[in-house]
């Protein structure tokens, strides 16, 4: 166990966990966008920045990737933290002015759009956190999407921006995206995502269209469960 102080509260935490985890375990809230409990943290959005004091030195760190250390004092609401958080939020607002999630979060933190940061209108709602790519790679296991290019032109998508032949239409990427960037439309017997349209399977009990055919085939192939057994939706099973 490691002893530390967060916002004046004495805390014991398991070695190796992050400051964010330790704070949350103790009911201390730190705003985040790109951290997800089922995925390795990447420290992409910087919103979870906090101030760490060791001896008489202090520094700003990203709490979702900084692990707990013996004897440190962590401040999640100091003036310095508030200033940094405000700046990060202002920049996010300028990059993704159309993301409801970001607009709401900014409002919650009392941050307004700044004239000095010209808003972008070509980035959609994407903050380039890589959560969707990691989900597709490590949880779904197909790697249909990735980043391309770099710097100001970096975007997320399928290779060559073409219909992916490995995508199974599961929609996990759209589900995990913190800002609602990924468009997925399900209407009756079809679902469209990343420019490709999938046929949906109807539940063989209730008749509701519940999953893309390709997804069920993929699960069947991976698990060895016959396709027929998978063709019943979760509510009818």
């Amino acid at each position: 166990m490691v002893n530390l102080v967060i916002d004046g509260k004495k805390i014991q935490a398991k070695e190796g966990i992050t400051l964010l985890e330790a704070a949350r375990e103790n009911g201390i809230d730190i705003p985040t966008l790109c951290s997800h409990e089922s995925l390795e943290p990447s420290g992409a959005c910087r919103l979870c920045s906090v101030e760490v004091t060791k001896g008489n030195r202090s520094k700003i760190v990203t709490s979702c990737i900084y692990t707990v250390e013996e004897g440190i004092k962590v401040n999640t609401e100091s003036e310095r933290v508030k200033k940094v958080r405000k700046l990060i939020m202002e920049l996010l607002l300028a990059r993704n002015p159309d993301s409801d999630v970001i607009i709401e979060l900014a409002e919650k933190l009392g941050v307004k759009p700044q004239k000095r940061f010209l808003p972008d209108h070509d980035k959609g709602k994407c903050i380039l956190c890589r959560l969707c790519i990691k989900t597709c790679e490590t949880i779904v296991g197909v790697s249909a999407i990735g980043f391309s290019s770099r710097g100001a032109t970096k975007i997320v998508g399928t290779p060559f921006d073409e219909e992916s032949d490995v995508c199974i239409g599961c929609g996990a990427c759209a589900y995990v995206c913190p800002t609602g960037h990924i468009q997925m439309e399900t209407t009756g017997d079809t679902r469209t995502i990343w420019g490709r349209t999938f046929k949906m399977t109807a539940c063989n009990v209730c008749g509701r269209y519940f999953a893309p055919e390709d997804q069920l085939k993929y699960i069947s192939q991976k698990t060895g469960v016959p396709l027929k057994e998978l063709s019943t939706c979760t509510s009818c099973r």
Partner: protein, 156 residues
């Protein structure tokens, strides 16, 4: 260097020269770029298969580095340095002159496939500024009036 015809065998040959390990990726892509003057889609697909790496990962790397091109490049790559020293010494005038001479814009390839015009950041020889690199030749202290003669040499 001539633009090579893309064949399955050539792709296989290049890939075969490298170990089937993730760390070979960039080296393979470099060899492909040298051979074909760009990275054809089928080559990227083949590399992915060989290294057991998803196409999305290969594509990330291929689009990340400026040294790689996904569009066919001309026989000669003309790179105008836009680093600080070359910029201060008027590199942008050289670019404008090249655009006029080649009748293309930066990033494009001439119709006959001879030249591709691109801009790069600092070629690492600032004391020779302003410079233009054509294939692997550095043209130092370049002025606009020297450009037509230089281009003629490559056209032959």
């Amino acid at each position: 260097m001539n633009t090579q015809k893309i064949t399955k065998n050539k792709i296989k040959g290049i890939i075969g020269r490298h170990e089937a390990e993730k760390t070979s990726l960039i080296a393979i892509l470099q060899d492909m770029q040298n051979e074909f003057r760009y990275l054809p889609k089928e080559a990227l697909v083949a590399v992915g298969k060989h290294l057991d790496m998803p196409l999305a990962r290969v594509y990330e790397v291929a689009t990340f580095y400026n040294a790689f091109s996904l569009k066919p490049r001309g026989r000669y790559l003309v790179e105008v340095c836009a680093g600080t020293a070359c910029h201060v010494k008027g590199g942008f005038n050289l670019l404008a002159k090249l655009e006029r001479e080649l009748k293309i814009e930066c990033g494009q390839t001439t119709k006959d496939g001879t030249f591709t015009l691109e801009q790069v950041r600092c070629l690492g020889c600032c004391s020779l500024a302003p410079v233009v690199r054509i294939d692997n030749d550095i043209h130092a202290y370049l002025t606009q009036d020297k450009i037509p003669r230089i281009l003629k040499k490559y056209r032959k």
